[in-house]
């Protein structure tokens, strides 16, 4: 081994997390979704080079892997901002005015749903139901849950993450 710090060394370091995850599985077809979930957890999203490596190592076909990734809403092919905002668009939240919360968030962040702010601080997403309908309307920022929202709460809440 030499201590030559070329890009290959960096590259292998980048794949450390990948190797660790893959070692936990046999690499059969039924492992695909758990592997992708772990990779996304480790990398924050599913980078193309990691997916290429996954196909090489498991022998799964890229169309099969991409087919699964694009089917499930959990998987993302692009990185998110530092704070992921999940605004609940479930039924209870809808009847209690989640669209107004969405307007307030868009106004405050100057982005549309699905976009990331220029400073990379926030990504705004909607989800079907967070399962705390008793607190509707609800949103999550990272792991924090905010319930019984009214539009004027939005700037104050976002301020904590700026």
């Amino acid at each position: 081994m030499n201590n030559n710090k070329c890009c290959c060394a960096e590259r292998s370091h980048y794949f450390d997390k990948f190797d660790k995850i893959l070692a936990m599985y046999e690499g059969k077809e039924s492992d695909l979704i758990p592997i992708l979930q772990d990779l996304q957890e480790a990398y924050g999203y599913l980078p193309q080079d990691v997916l290429d490596e996954l196909c090489n190592r498991t022998g799964m076909h890229p169309t099969q892997v991409m087919g699964v990734i694009t089917f499930y809403s959990q998987f993302r092919l692009l990185p998110t901002g530092q704070n992921l905002i999940k605004l609940c668009f479930g039924t209870a939240c809808h009847v209690k005015g989640s669209d107004k919360i969405a307007e307030a968030l868009k106004e405050e962040l100057k982005i549309e749903i699905g976009e990331t702010t220029k400073d990379n601080k926030f990504t705004l997403e909607t989800v079907a139901c967070l399962g705390c309908c008793g607190l509707a309307p609800v949103m999550m920022i990272g792991d924090d849950v905010y319930g019984k929202l009214v539009p004027k709460d939005v700037p104050k809440i976002l301020e904590k993450y700026r």
Partner: protein
């Protein structure tokens, strides 16, 4: 096990946790230590108590004092007054439990009075992360009874006789499903649990898994014994991290106690359970799609037969039940099928958990015997709509269900009566709507959801729902045409007829039921270009009532687009060409001067 004089139960379900119940628990522990009471008083983190709108909730036993909306800073007072001096802090009790001559037990308050808790029996009663507490409440008694006293066919017979039907939505008799799977040929069989609770508005499965995970593990093990399977899978939404964590803890503890794994209870029976996380696809609640997803494929449904009972996971016979269905199994084994069948109506036995949400005073989880009326749930248990608004409809069954209007409020709740209204029992989500909710908008909202979630396999579902959604969007924008309602009905019938799975077959239900019961609202949108509920943005205008406006300027300051102008102490006006109809002004106005036309 150690004995304590006082138990402090703190809800650590998702609802209360989001309002800081963990901090409350920590403060209690700290305060109790300060007073040197840690040998006498124990702090327990439990599952959901059900009354989420009053969270965070703390119940102190043996008095069963029900503290609601507790803040971390209230803890000191509760400890000093209640725990040290024995004086209940009335100010913090749930108002309904405080009467002139004393304090009522929580079981006497309206929200709990009519409830019968079978599936939710341990939620809020035990610490879900401690298997000993589950065992103390008859946990794993049913499993040991099955393994040592009953033959597999006797277990199936008990489940059959109880009349239990699938609680996930379909309502298929559970015992028959077990019987089919038991009789199917195969050297390997699987037991699966559907915890992919995708219906927006339903959260009972989440609460059961968070509050009583062992009840599901025990029931799956019993099912494994009954059908001759040795491996179980729980397919759970990744959006439920707390439930996943509690399940993982429960599985580890059950393995340590020899209640999962090889040679369970020394009887030679092997059974183990693995967790699979769903990746966010509503259609995976359909059984064949769920199986495809566990196998690592796109979660697309396939033609049945063959049913999973014959050819399911990895091509082997597979039993698939919902969380709430499993949660009913152990009490049925322990107390007998006659006990279970004594509750409910002729064809729907036992109890059902409903998630009450939307425009209702008491939101949360309720479990009532089948046969309870809608009125009892909405008015007596739920306390009616807030702010004295008129109750308009209740949405049942999520995107597959429908809206039941106020005039049918005396409908008895069981599988068949609900189906007759055009809605479905579904998983038990009940979203209440008041006079301010537009029914056309609700129908459009559900189709927004199903358009996103259709897997795309069947043309009618993929394209038909999209077309319906476009028509509804047009109507809510004031661009509806004569004939739109008829076109919607025609499309709906064809989509129902020509879709393979439940998603497509039921997706038009929200539209069909709202047309059936609220046709006049559709017509008002189409013909008069008016939204009677004053909700559809393109059909309303915000106006300031000059008689009520005091000219305080508050609204003009909050308006994000500067559409409001006027001098101090004089009536203001809204420029409707600039107004974005965000409603912030109406929300801020202290004189109710802003009106919608």
């Amino acid at each position: 096990m150690r004995m304590y004089r006082t138990h402090i139960m703190i809800c650590r379900g998702t609802g209360c946790s989001s309002s800081n119940s963990e901090q409350i628990a920590k403060n209690f522990e700290e305060q109790i230590k300060t007073h040197g009471l840690q040998e006498e008083i124990i702090v327990e983190r439990t599952g959901c108590f059900g009354l989420c709108s009053l969270g965070p909730i703390v119940i102190i036993y043996p008095e069963a004092s029900f503290y609601s909306m507790v803040k971390p800073e209230d803890v000191e007072e509760i400890v000093k007054e209640h725990l040290v001096k024995g004086r209940v802090v009335k100010r913090l009790l749930y108002a309904e439990t405080v009467t002139e001559d004393g304090i009522k037990s929580i079981n006497e308050v309206n929200f709990y009075k009519k409830q019968v808790r079978v599936a939710l029996r341990n939620c809020g009663v035990i610490n879900p992360e401690n298997i000993d507490e589950y065992i103390a409440f008859d946990g794993y008694k049913a499993l040991s009874k099955c393994l040592t006293e009953l033959k597999p066919e006797e277990v199936i017979d008990i489940v059959k006789k109880s009349g239990l039907r699938g609680r996930g939505g379909g309502g298929f008799p559970t015992g028959n499903k077990w019987d089919f799977t038991a009789k199917a040929q195969g050297n390997q069989k699987y037991v699966c649990c559907n915890a992919d609770e995708g219906d927006p508005g339903a959260f009972m499965d989440r609460s059961i898994l968070e509050g009583d995970p062992h009840s599901v593990l025990e029931a799956m093990t019993i099912a494994g014994y009954a059908i001759g399977g040795s491996q179980g899978y729980i397919y759970i939404r990744a959006e439920y991290p707390l439930a996943v964590k509690r399940l993982t803890v429960a599985i580890t503890q059950a393995r340590e106690y020899g209640l999962l794994g090889k040679n369970i209870l020394g009887t030679g029976f092997d059974f183990d359970i693995e967790i699979r996380l769903g990746a966010g696809a509503f259609v995976c609640g359909e059984e064949t799609a769920l199986i495809a997803s566990i196998e690592g494929q796109r979660g697309m449904p396939r033609i049945r037969p063959p049913f999973p009972a014959v050819k399911g996971l990895f091509g082997k016979p597979t039993l698939l039940n919902n969380v709430e269905t499993y949660a009913n199994i152990c009490p049925i084994i322990n107390k007998g099928s006659e006990w279970f069948a004594s509750m409910g109506t002729e064809k729907s036995k036992g109890t059902k958990v409903f998630a009450l949400g939307g425009k209702i005073n008491h939101t949360g989880l309720v479990e009532v015997p089948m046969g309870t009326t809608m009125r009892e749930i909405i008015y007596e248990i739920g306390g009616g709509c807030p702010d004295d608004k008129a109750f308009k409809a209740v949405q049942m069954g999520g995107p597959s269900g429908g809206c039941i209007p106020a005039e049918l409020i005396d409908t008895v709740i069981d599988y068949d009566s609900v189906t007759k209204t055009g809605a479905i029992m579904g998983s038990g989500g009940m979203v209440v709507m008041d006079e301010d909710n537009c029914m056309v908008d609700i129908a459009r909202f559900f189709l927004d959801f199903t358009v996103e979630e259709s897997c795309g396999k069947c043309t009618f579902c993929r394209i038909g729902i999209k077309r319906m959604n476009e028509i509804l969007t047009r109507i809510t924008k004031g661009q509806g045409k004569e004939g739109d309602i008829e076109l919607l009905e025609e499309l709906a019938l064809n989509i129902k007829k020509n879709s393979l799975c439940g998603l497509g077959q039921t997706a038009p239900n929200p539209v069909l039921t709202t047309i059936k019961y609220f046709r006049d609202e559709y017509e008002a949108h189409i013909r008069d270009k008016k939204c009677p509920a004053k909700q559809c943005k393109n059909l309303i205008e915000y106006k300031i009532n000059a008689d009520k406006c005091k000219g305080c300027t508050l609204c003009s300051r909050v308006c994000p687009v500067k559409a409001i102008s006027g001098e101090l102490k004089k009536a203001h006006r809204i420029d409707s060409s600039i107004c974005k109809k965000c409603g912030l002004c109406k929300e801020t106005c202290k004189f109710a001067a802003i009106e919608i036309e």
